[in-house]
Symmetry: C2
Amino acid sequence: MAEFTDLRGFDQSLPMALLRARESLMRRFRPMLASHELTEQQWRVIRALAGAELPLDVGEIADATFLLGPSLSRILANLESRKLVTREPDQRDQRRSSVALAPAGAELFAKVAPESEEIYRLVEKSFGDGRMTELLSLLNELEKS
Amino acid sequence: MAEFTDLRGFDQSLPMALLRARESLMRRFRPMLASHELTEQQWRVIRALAGAELPLDVGEIADATFLLGPSLSRILANLESRKLVTREPDQRDQRRSSVALAPAGAELFAKVAPESEEIYRLVEKSFGDGRMTELLSLLNELEKS
DNA sequence: AGGCATTACTTCACATGTTAGACAATTTTG
DNA sequence: CAAAATTGTCTAACATGTGAAGTAATGCCT
């Protein structure tokens, strides 16, 4: 079949390469996150909230974490039920809800963040600092191209 | 919070950069695939089968497409119900099932493959051939690092 | 041959991705 | 100011991701 279509093999397919690279990378983080009962996406939300000075509304979290509304809605419900975040209706615009880290969430963040950074450093060490920078740069350019 | 932990921002996070880059890329393919009633994953399976000379068993498809068993199991059930693929128990080892493209599947592949290649060429043109090669190379190295 | 671990695949349970639509609050417009 | 359009969020429905358990066929070992 390939002889008729010249479709590139999976090896040269950029979407597949991105998928495999990300999977290979996340495999190194997931066990640590799982040990804290966190999924990758839940951790992204907590990270975004921890990095913000003020409470964020749902749309701002969606932009920061690259999660879509429906996913985020379920994730926030989950985190709220575990008392890791709080949700309150915004006073100025009652369509918005204002989300912040609860004390338990901040505590969890303080435990997980250093472990995450440690893994990241190991990756940097084994992959190489320069290649890491180069890769980040190419990825950003692809996104904007 | 960031001042205590020095957690890198989402901008410098490699997992997020990979996610954003892939999403930005797939956004250009998905509408075309959707117009043929195909998801990205279903297309990966059909591509793998079309590229093979002989029928593949489920494990081989999983390796080729980077899909996990449970996902693949559901996807194959879907494609079989749409008569795009056929499944038969392997005669030598009855634990295996042998999957091949059905005629309708081959026909669909012949329609979709050129459209997919066309989009790929546009991406290559706008992102640049050299950077594409360099990116693929870095991604493969990351995967193996 | 009979027991036992292994293998290939499926099913289950739960979380997320994706699109479409619902809903209420807000803003725009005539 | 009231009708219409827009915005922010959520729900619904279906497909996939992930880990764990289930099932059946195979191979090994005595």
